[in-house]
Symmetry: C2
Subunit: 508 residues, 2 copies
């Protein structure tokens, strides 16, 4: 029977080959996949036990053929396969549309409403199950998580497996007070940075697929500084081997986004030249051009770099965060995703102890400036788990409200919003309109945040009728107060977190 | 019987003189007051009905003599008087101490905790009484208000009296929608800008004295742009006449502060040269060197100007306000008083509709950065009055909490606080210590604002004992959790608006 694969699914070709020596370094396998509308070349990878694999994600339907080649007998194969239409819920990879926003490849708008669970994928089974169960509630459509395990406050236990063959340092010496001293520590670790553990990477793939099944994008953090095993201070050759391996294994997953690093500027041994080299490998080796970003701690990367598809930003200021989205849009001329704006929680660190209302406010401030924000939760309780790192259950007040915002965003004409400061609005209106000019004058979304007006008044013109809705972004209600024209008077509840949606009425 | 006056009180000398022609322009009277420690020269003024006055505020006790002179017979007098010690509650004028803070002339620290009632002094009797009754509760020790009447949203009625002889435009044409068009309007007004109405100015003086009786500083706004009568667009000669008159009448009041203008940058006909000229008149003619400031709308005045005693600032950003106090301290090297940071209220304008908790937070953010903030209230209700403009009653939640902050500030060693970012504190601690180095290491005040840590830990050294208090700035409680040394662990409630006070224990 001929092979068959769904559009944006994965065709995986498997080969038997040598298991002696170091196959990761010494062997190579590649595939070439040709359909009517595309020809794709992809590296394969060694998956252990003498097994090699090449993966391909087709972007079109129809008949395809493939040829493979490699460094060993049996790598040279060829054949044909059929690509069937995408099934329901499969919209393809997410792309940038109209400069500042996102859509799936099939044209469906994508409004990133993300969360953060850095190493949910490395937790034990029952925690992973709880995470997936929580995610299945549908609050989020993007999740930021890491390939490498994590060494950080509240995350001192070893992962189930390691990415490399070898043994880690003794974790029993670690305490909340001394863990900082083991950062990027190599002593006591005995890893061979040229021999991957395929089981570790299969676990990451399993996680990506589990997210895919839930309709969630995997915003995968390839490097990060929270390390006591030496993974953040490998040599240039070891880094490049890692990048090539990761790309060969993961690039064919349609719901993948590449985040080169979390807090790249804390990887003190890496230079801008290193980051640019990884980006170069990624641009050359990822045939699917997945979204690419790099995330800061203090200093922003230069997000104008051509390989960066969208700015993934951690707020620099303790007080003012997503209010800067409109500035960043001008500065970077790309989609702005504020991936770290502090988390709903109560831990000691200021990045992890803001309230639900404040986090939701930051989401809305981003939205009405034409950008996006990302959730995280760090609520200390008897569970011993912090969602931000481990996953598990959510206890906060923000997820339901973030979902509510998402529902509002889905009703935007066209693709996404942009900030607007023209008449009839004034200095104290924060207003969004559709990004695309063809919707000009039809839709306005205002957000008052911490301000509590008991009314607002606007005058567009004498003739045009507008439907006015008052949105309570915290109570999650939308009140239609009817159609007005001329001098529009909008009574408001005089409380925080209120928005107004004004839409031109077509059938009035 | 020999004349006698309290130290920092007012000796007022009265003369009969001409009432024909224009005495404001044509007549002059001055006084010279000499005691053991000072000689003061002060202009007098025409108070109508052929009466002239010269006022003097002595800064020392003991025997004084005076000589007066002038342009008419009877202005030339001389005599002696005794200055008795200041009575309880009379601490003299407020001065700048140690560069960034304030104290009364007798050395008592003064922590400005101000409010705003722009034209309370021009309201009818029962409203003025209500205002004074509210102020007598003791929430505030400084109030910002205007000499001239005010034309602005929510303030369209004419004052009881006008500063000049003449008649105003017909106020019945004004509406909430058209009032902007009458800004600095001269049409329909018939005022003689060379003839003051002494009754109007006596009303201002009465107000200053009523505040003095309550221990409240009168932060008097001499010019402002909210005008439909032409007072904001007089000629240079008329302006200078006004400034000289105001100084001659008001300078002897010990509780007076000079604010050259509110929102000086909205007085579009005035140039920096004009403001500098007024300042020059003030520096030359006010013998008591009362505090001098000038307040912005958008653009800050150059507060490094030598005549400016303290920066009186309106926040420029909608979101971040008093968090900039530490920056302004560096920029201006003077006391920072953030006199407009938005008001507790629910009116349509964003400057008048923040919550009580947010206003109190802004006060605390100022305090822990070594600066000060000012209150205002704009709560629309059946009273028809807005405290910010009319006075009357207060309905908000902030005044009691501002008072509580004031109580905390009063327990600062020395004069005032400064920001501090040294060990053992980290990037997410906002910490204040006493301004003066002699108290180094003795006192720390931390404020977490919107952050909600459930604990914090600090290590000073092994030996020194510190008393730890947890302050709930909203519930207004102080919990002494005892003395700790070495690794200090502070459990916190994990809610917003919490502060910590750490004091070195002397007797442990």
């Amino acid at each position: 029977m001929e092979k068959s694969v769904e559009r944006y699914g994965i065709l995986e070709l498997t080969f038997s080959g040598p298991s002696t020596g170091n196959p990761f370094l010494e062997q190579k396998v590649t595939g070439r996949f040709t359909g009517k509308n595309e020809t794709v070349t992809a590296d394969g990878f060694y998956d252990g036990d003498g097994v090699y694999k090449v993966r391909f994600m087709p972007s079109f339907t129809g008949e395809y053929r493939y040829e493979t080649d490699g460094s060993f007998d049996g790598a040279k194969t060829e054949g044909t396969f059929t690509v069937t239409p995408a099934k329901e819920g499969n919209h393809g990879p997410v792309r940038v549309v109209n400069q500042y926003h996102f859509a799936y490849e099939d044209g469906t708008p994508f409004y990133p409403v993300g969360t953060t669970c850095y190493v949910w994928n490395h937790q034990k089974v029952q925690v992973r199950k709880a995470t997936l169960s929580t995610l299945s509630k549908g609050y989020f459509n993007k999740i930021r998580f890491c390939v490498f395990p994590k060494h950080y406050d509240y995350n001192l236990t070893d992962p189930k497996r390691f990415p490399y063959e070898g043994t880690p340092m003794d974790a029993s010496v670690l305490t909340k007070d001394n863990f900082y001293w083991y950062s990027a520590h190599k002593e006591g670790n005995h890893f061979d940075f040229t021999r991957f553990d395929p089981l570790f990477f299969r676990q990451v793939e399993k996680s990506i697929l589990e997210l895919q099944a839930l309709g969630i994008e995997a915003d995968l953090i390839v490097m990060h500084p929270y390390d006591r095993w030496g993974f953040s201070e490998m040599t240039k050759e070891q880094d490049d081997l890692y990048w090539n391996y990761v790309i060969a294994r993961f690039a064919a997953f349609r719901n993948l986004w590449w985040s080169l690093a979390n807090e790249y500027d804390l990887l003190t041994k890496k230079t801008v030249a290193d980051w640019e080299r990884y980006a170069d490998i990624l641009c050359k080796k990822d045939p699917y051009r997945h979204l690419r970003s790099i995330h800061n701690c203090h200093a922003f990367y230069d997000h104008t770099r051509p390989w960066i598809t969208h700015a993934s930003i951690q707020r620099q200021d303790l007080y003012k965060t997503t209010e800067f989205v409109s500035d960043y849009r001008i500065r970077y001329q790309k989609p702005i995703v504020m991936d770290e704006i502090a988390y709903e929680g109560n831990i000691n660190h200021a990045w992890g102890n803001i309230s639900g209302p404040e986090l939701v406010r930051r989401f809305w401030e981003a939205a009405v400036r034409g950008g996006y924000a990302t959730h995280g939760e760090t609520i200390l309780n008897d569970s011993g788990l912090l969602w931000w790192s481990h996953g598990g259950d959510l206890y906060g007040e923000s997820p339901a409200r973030i979902w509510f915002l998402w529902e509002i965003l889905k009703e935007t004409p066209g693709y996404g919003l942009k900030p607007w400061s023209e008449k009839p609005f004034t200095w104290d209106d924060i207003v969004a309109v559709p990004e695309e000019d063809r919707y000009q004058g039809e839709y306005f979304l205002l957000y008052f945040g911490n301000f509590r007006p008991s009314f607002r008044e606007y005058y567009f013109d004498e003739e045009t009728p507008y439907r006015i809705e008052i949105i309570d972004t915290w109570d999650m209600t939308i009140s239609d107060i009817g159609i007005q024209k001329g001098k529009i008077h909008i009574p408001l509840p005089g409380k925080e977190y209120v928005a107004i949606r004004i839409r031109k009425e077509r059938n009035a």
